[in-house]
Symmetry: D2
Subunit: 342 residues, 4 copies
């Protein structure tokens, strides 16, 4: 587990502590190497006396699975040095984008290529899902938190050919853990509590190309997205409100069924009963995505709202889910099936 | 002041306590009549020992200004009985909509007509603003909280002919006081803290026709809006993220100037310096709206974000501002010019 | 599981969903009988389609373990009717107090007697712990949430004879879920967020006699406690600040060692490294208690602070822990070993 | 106004913006000098375009009143250089302690002496209050936030000779703004929200000697205090729970009257109606302290709970109140008489 000191790293460790088939091996980080893990993550009681090691090939050697939760741009170099037989699950953005141009438009490190995209439930055209590409893989790129919520929210509509690809608007609210542990003034509790604010407005957030990649794949044509993220006064959770215009001729009454069908067998994606809307509070700490779909018939638009825990299904839960698939285990092994509420 | 026991009523009283020209007269309510005001609003120290009276013509008689903060549908009957010479400022929805059909589509009480709409800063076509219609008026309908944020956010673009009227998407987050003081399970602190959820999805929220009325007036043509409100874990504040498609041929570089010009002289609407985005935490308790505008050139969309305190500029502050205009006082009298932060 | 609709009931179900040896049987409640469980507890995804049954002998029949999470005063009648062979774990106060007078001083229902007290780690005189009394028991009274935090915080000092019994002062802050799901105005999110307030001041809180019973047992003499609970703006968690005067002659340097020794082998009670103080955020969703001890040598007082999740170790986790002991299972089975943070 | 970039400085400016007799002059700070004030305090709209100047004798020259909101240890040097005729209101700790030993025990900068202590309402023996010492003064030391809450809570009992001075226990919860704007990991929103934690446990918090000084003065004998501060998940507010043992022979029924009498004429200290307890949410943004007193007759203890906004009455409001007294103005001028709630 490299990058253990951040929020994503802590969440991976939390999940692995309850995993029946994966044991926590070396726990490494950069600046906090040498510290007790209990000093960094006091909630991980069973690991409190572990000492954080330096992130290096030596400390990561000898593991069957390596989880990388590093700042963007750091995974590529490390991954290249790990043996091919080792399962590497990367929680960073480094290997998510298939289009080099999209990468260079949004990131300032060199393009490192792409790995199979770790969203097993992602609906594609003609009833395909992404799961098949992940089983037994040795390298998997874990999706970003916003793309998880937004892609699972809208992909069924695109895969079924219901939605226009040039009029998608998404506004999403994220808990502050999504912004990481960096010491920035606007992330202080005094500033955050009781306040909401947007950031990365105008199409400049790095998750935009990843969302578009996923929806375009589902649609088999180019989909563009107006995406505005906002910071909400809560530690965890993403609520993504996603709207798109229905294609002419689509029967509004038939819309919801596409989502129902797409996720009927999914263990972690739940379309709520009609009229019930998701709340992030219901998915905290769990690997679930909760969804609801409405059609605004007057305007010919679909509105889909998704709730997800940015650290669990949005990052660490997806990472464990991918590791399960890579290792040939039951995909749901060790993953929390209930949220912590209230 | 009728309807003193709710959050809007409490906020009106808070503002009037600091108003140099309006004195608090009778304080009335329905179910809490007979109680000490201090029991209902312990923050209003100077009024703590006032006894809440019943809302009736008798208790409201003899005042120069009457503020109504009643549940929707209750203002019409009461207002009809008050002398025409009295200034009546209605914080309910009863008199906001000019279109009877719009009323009956969204409300289940009979249509009561409309009063001058109390948003002095609302830009209309050809440089007009709503202010002129309010000075010296005896009856004013205070805007809804969401319509305040959204209309002020988008109207300059419509008034200047920059925006398409059929592709407007708004997602707004509101603090819980916007949902009132009713004892509903989903409003319990345990449910609300750490959680975000949508409501009124699919175009069914009652503020939709009011927003469309305002933007249509600004545009001099029909504007429709996909509006999704969400409940955020904070007591006060609205953050409205508003997007619309630019008309073909509009120069993106010229967009921001329209907002700058529209609000340059406004005391309560502030376009922030370029690149700085509003946060609800900066406007709590104040009568300000903070705005920022960005153009997503790739998609040809404008994104405007507005932050407002739903109880102050979103209700009670606007009510006092309207009363000032109605009474011929300085429009800004008694209104807080700074937010309470952090 | 009787009383499934409340917060304690929901938390028991959450824990049982991850328990390898206990399966959820009938799920019953009073007023919400007939509803989908998903409507009441949307976070319990795997049980969403379960229908809540009425709480009755019939619906509870045929189970090996029955968890009662009923309002105080309702357990006694029901428990009397359940077969003696069934393990009954009562989360209410009904059977916690051994002293009838203490019961009648604080409760208005008839005294129902007492059951073995379900705090396995409670230190008693001469190195005894409560655990021995619980193994294989058929009836166990789960401790209250505040008594859990306070008793575990102070009992080692009393058991070791270090503390005066007549000068104990405790001030504790609780998350709002401790106040339940009742629709009371002061529990609304708008009221709770950003605000702290005390309640039950002056020795009138019902947990006072339970705390005194535990500490008196540990001390083998009467201990009295000045206990003030406060409501904090968070959904879960108790932070109990507990102070007591050192007996004359006690060596301050020897104090901490008593706590260290008392809990060295405990799986769920953790004395943090010297100088590190507990935070409720570190124990959310877990069955842990985190403690720290300091001696204020100038005043001759010990200050112990305990953090616990009121719903997990403070109620439902303790209930499952007791059930494990009653059933002869590993005491820690199915209990979360890491908190959900941040 | 020196030290304008911190939370205390921002609050002083907020209050001065509404003050009818004091105008904001130079606004100075250290590290943020040269920045727009709007970048640091976006809630202070009317001052947004002011440029922060460097804190120096030159920039502070020519003002009738200078407010210092500097880190502890920085006021002494600056104050020594300001003309004696200028009113200097120091919000730091530098001049609060009359006992040099107390200073050197808790601070590491040299002792600078003491100034008149800026708590006008502080009851002393024989019905004296501190107000008399402040009128017309040129140098005033504004009290600390915790000492404000605790001293006003307990002083009437000590002044009236009701309380033992050697058995006082105080546990107080503070909003995060009390910890300032420093970029520390434990102050991040992700860490703070949903969590409570203690700090400075065991008598080591710097406000301890200030509290003891105030209570000792009230009692005319030495009072010692066990003081434990905790950090609560809210931006503002202090809730102080204060207990002390009644002297033998004190009639419990007579206790409350002492508080009633002490504060009957005070504009900013309010004893709530019997049985009503203060909440910090009721005093946010206002200069009020709300109090309640209970006697725990069984234990012979008094419990007093005080709620105050740490930034307003706890710092900046007290500073303005002191400036009013120093300038011979009405003591209440420009100070908010109602809290911002909910």
């Amino acid at each position: 587990m490299a990058g253990a000191s951040g929020y994503a790293g802590g969440e991976i460790l939390r999940l692995l502590l309850a995993h029946p088939q994966i044991e926590v091996g070396a726990v490494t980080a950069a600046s906090s190497a040498g510290e007790r893990l209990g000093g960094v993550h006091p909630h991980l009681v069973p690991l409190a006396d572990r000492v954080i090691e330096d992130t290096s090939l030596e400390t990561l050697a000898g593991h069957d699975v390596v989880f990388l939760a590093l700042p963007h741009g750091h995974s590529a170099r490390l991954a290249a040095q790990l043996p091919e037989s080792v399962v590497v699950i990367d929680c960073g953005a480094d290997f998510r984008l298939e289009d080099e141009q999209a990468w260079t438009d949004f990131y300032d490190t060199p393009y490192a290529g792409s790995w199979p995209y770790g969203m097993p439930e992602l609906p594609g055209p003609a009833g395909t899902v992404q799961r098949e590409r992940l089983t037994g893989e040795r390298r998997i790129a874990v999706p970003g938190c916003y793309p998880t919520a937004v892609s699972l929210a809208l992909a069924p509509g695109f895969a079924a050919g219901l939605l226009e690809g040039d009029d998608v608007v998404v506004v999403a609210a994220s808990g502050t853990s999504g912004a990481g542990k960096g010491l920035k003034p606007h992330l202080l509790g005094s500033e955050v509590m009781g306040s909401m604010s947007p950031y990365g407005v105008g199409g400049v957030h790095r998750h935009t190309p990843e969302i578009e990649q996923n929806l375009s794949r589902a649609a088999s044509e180019t989909v563009t997205v107006s995406f505005t993220p906002t910071l909400a006064p809560m530690p965890r959770g993403i609520l993504a409100t996603c709207t798109a215009r229905l294609r002419p001729g689509v029967d509004p009454a038939a819309v919801r069924a596409e989502w129902q069908q797409a996720y009927a067998a999914e263990p972690f994606v739940h379309l709520l009963p009609e009229g019930v809307w998701p709340a992030t509070g219901s998915v905290i700490g769990s690997n679930h995505v909760q969804l609801q779909v409405a059609v605004d018939e007057r305007l010919g638009r679909v509105v889909v709202v998704a709730a997800v825990d940015n650290l669990t299904k949005g990052t660490a839960g997806a990472a464990v889910q991918c590791a399960n698939l890579a290792l040939g285990l039951d995909e749901t092994l060790g993953l929390p099936v209930a949220g912590v509420a209230p």
